[in-house]
């Protein structure tokens, strides 16, 4: 029993790390530009399938390195051509546009790679369990947790230690003043969008190794990411991270005791948070208005 519980907690932690990676990207874009990027799941799928296509040529590690950057490049282009036009307009429109984009991306991946799920090969030495008792601790899972940890640390370092990060944080608070101070806000938003999409691409490559590839891989992860943002607190990136891990672990534990509520539990948590603390666990006051 303890082992089953431990297994599911660990599993939940991994799933939660995915949610967090997705949600952090969404949160970055939402905070600076006020756009809910519904197509985030679509970008995740692009990252996964790009890695799949590149792997025969540059290997597992090459794909892991290159695919997220390519995804981010596509993200930069999409922001430039489509999303930029909608800043300053009713948020309804960017929501609808990215919603349509999500449809197109999912359909395009299905058209190119087929609706069937395809396995994503990972190096053999990563798949063997590390210990006989804790059979679920494969190298790949530990590797994923480590990589998500590195990515998140890097993100917070970028935000806190670099000029770009400082401007993103400042822009989140008051974009107009940042613009008046001579920062090119268009470029700032563009780069910020790219950064968010990079995280989605990275999550895609990692998810491919664990879940296999299918066109709906992104759409199934987007709702939990919303929940992670709301639970963690609007406008707070550490909150988003916490929210993602929390709902991942909670679903893991629920799987043990009440399997049919695995998905529902995070929405119940969201309801409780909204009831008790509408701004979210680490959210600042006033950002929900």
């Amino acid at each position: 029993m303890t082992q089953v519980l431990l297994f599911n907690v660990f599993n939940g932690l991994i799933v939660g790390a995915f949610y967090a990676l997705m949600a952090l990207g969404l949160s970055l874009i939402l905070n600076l530009s006020g756009v809910i990027n519904f197509a985030h799941g679509g970008f995740l799928a692009i990252g996964a399938y790009l890695a799949y296509s590149l792997m025969p040529f540059i290997g597992f590690w090459g794909a892991l390195l290159v695919a997220p950057f390519l995804t981010a490049a596509i993200g930069l282009a999409v922001e430039r051509v489509l999303i930029r036009r909608l800043y300053g307009r009713d948020p309804l429109y960017s929501l609808l546009l990215t919603f349509g984009l999500a449809y197109i991306l999912e359909d395009a991946t299905r058209y190119i790679y087929g609706a069937q799920s395809v396995p994503y090969p990972i190096p053999g030495w990563l798949t063997t369990p590390l210990s006989a008792q804790f059979f679920f601790l494969t190298g790949y899972r530990l590797f994923m947790v480590a990589l998500v940890g590195i990515a998140v640390t890097a993100l917070f370092l970028i935000l806190n230690r670099t000029r770009l990060g400082m401007r993103i944080r400042a822009g989140t608070l008051d974009l107009e003043t940042v613009s008046v101070l001579g920062v090119n806000v268009r470029i700032l938003r563009n780069l910020n969008f790219g950064l968010g999409i990079y995280l989605a691409g990275l999550a895609g490559v990692l998810a491919a190794g664990m879940l296999g590839l299918q066109p709906t891989i992104g759409t199934s992860l987007i709702m939990p990411s919303f929940v992670a943002i709301i639970i963690g607190g609007l406008g707070s990136l550490p909150g988003t991270l916490l929210g993602g891990l929390l709902i991942g672990v909670a679903s893991g534990i629920t799987t043990v005791f009440f399997p049919s509520a695995t998905e529902a539990v995070m929405y119940i948590m969201m309801g409780i948070v909204l009831l008790v603390r509408p701004r979210g666990l680490l959210g600042e006051e006033g950002r929900t208005q």
Binding site: L30, G34, V35, I36, F38, L82, R85, L86, R89, P91, L92, Y93, L95, L96, L97, F99, G100, L101, A102, Y103, I104, E106, D107, A108, R110, Y111, M223, F226, V227, I229, I230, L234, S260, A261, E263, A264, Y267, I268, M270, G271, L274, L275, P278, T288, Q289
Partner: protein, 316 residues
């Protein structure tokens, strides 16, 4: 002059709706398609009560639509085979859920309101998806049929006759739409418009904004769940997709496509959307791309919607 033209427009719309089953075939459609237009049109108009006339961005109306659908289906299958009762139960279930969830979210605004409404919609999706034994899970709820209507003095064969069911749906559509129109003209409706235009000023005037938004949300969801009951009765079937967030997105695009700021806009948007979807999905496997592309094009080039453009032309 303006009043007269509005009256003629209304009369023309009702004449078109009353005769739809008879000309739908001539333009390549069928009666069930006509019913789908008014049912989804009702859902889009119900959403627009909130979206266009209260200015609140709800992206999760499929949840209440779907609850209505399941409420009606399960009533007929498990409790009592009566069409009117199924509708009453479906509407009650959807409205009750909306009243509870609405209370949790009225303090949120804008994109956050949208995000929370979408996310909450998924609860019901997963419940129906997982609760196999009762809801039929992913395969949907089958093995039930809408029943003929017996009012004592007259019997209506709405169970088997497609045209009869169309007119049955049209009667309920007319009642719902009439009630929405009356509400929007009442002081309550004017207050909603005031909140849409300037929430802060409305608050300064002493209007309890949260309570009004909650009421508008519940009313909007009530009519959305009515549309949901009709939707499942129409096909004698319902599945979890009736609650999925992609359907919520479709409702919003219907409202925007037709024109959010006009009363009839969403119905027009629904008609265009339903016919387009029916046509595209029978001609290509990649209908998702076509629908997605239409979202992008509407946002970039027709943000005011068809009726919005027409109104502008007339005014110019």
């Amino acid at each position: 002059m303006k009043r007269v033209s509005a009256r003629t427009a209304n009369a023309a719309i009702w004449i078109l709706l009353l005769t739809m089953p008879y000309w739908m075939g001539a333009i390549g459609g069928y009666t069930e398609l006509a019913t789908r237009v008014i049912v989804l049109g009702l859902a889009a108009m119900a959403l627009n009560f909130l979206l266009g006339f209260t200015g609140v961005l709800s992206f999760g109306h499929a949840a209440y639509f779907g609850l209505g659908a399941y409420g009606a289906a399960m009533t007929i299958k498990y409790i009592v085979p009566s069409t009117p009762l199924a509708i009453v139960v479906g509407v009650a279930v959807g409205t009750l859920a909306a009243a509870i969830i609405g209370a949790l979210i009225v303090k949120l605004r804008g994109v956050y309101f949208a995000m929370v409404t979408i996310a909450f919609g998924q609860v019901f999706y997963f419940i129906t998806f997982r609760w196999n034994s009762v809801t039929g899970g992913d395969d949907g709820l089958t093995g039930w049929h809408r029943q003929p209507l017996d009012l004592g003095f007259a019997q209506f064969p709405i169970g088997t006759n497609d045209k009869a069911f169309y007119y049955f749906a049209l009667v309920l559509f007319a009642v719902a739409v009439g009630m929405m129109a009356i509400l929007l003209r009442s002081p309550f409706g004017r207050t909603l418009l005031a909140i849409r235009e300037n929430e802060r000023r409305a608050r300064f005037l002493g209007i309890p904004v949260e309570r009004h938004i909650w009421m508008s949300f519940v009313i909007s969801c009530l009519f959305a769940s009515l549309a949901g009951t009709l939707y499942s009765l129409l096909s004698n079937f319902t599945d979890p997709r009736a609650l999925h967030w992609s359907l919520s997105g479709n409702f919003v695009i219907m409202a925007v496509l037709g024109g959010m700021r006009s009363f009839w806009g969403p119905l027009l948007g629904a008609a265009i959307f339903v016919v387009l979807q029916d046509y595209v999905s029978s001609h290509t496997e990649n209908w998702m791309s076509v629908i997605g592309l239409s979202f992008v094009l509407v946002v970039l080039f027709f943000p005011r919607g068809v009726l919005g453009i027409i109104k502008r032309r007339i005014a110019a």
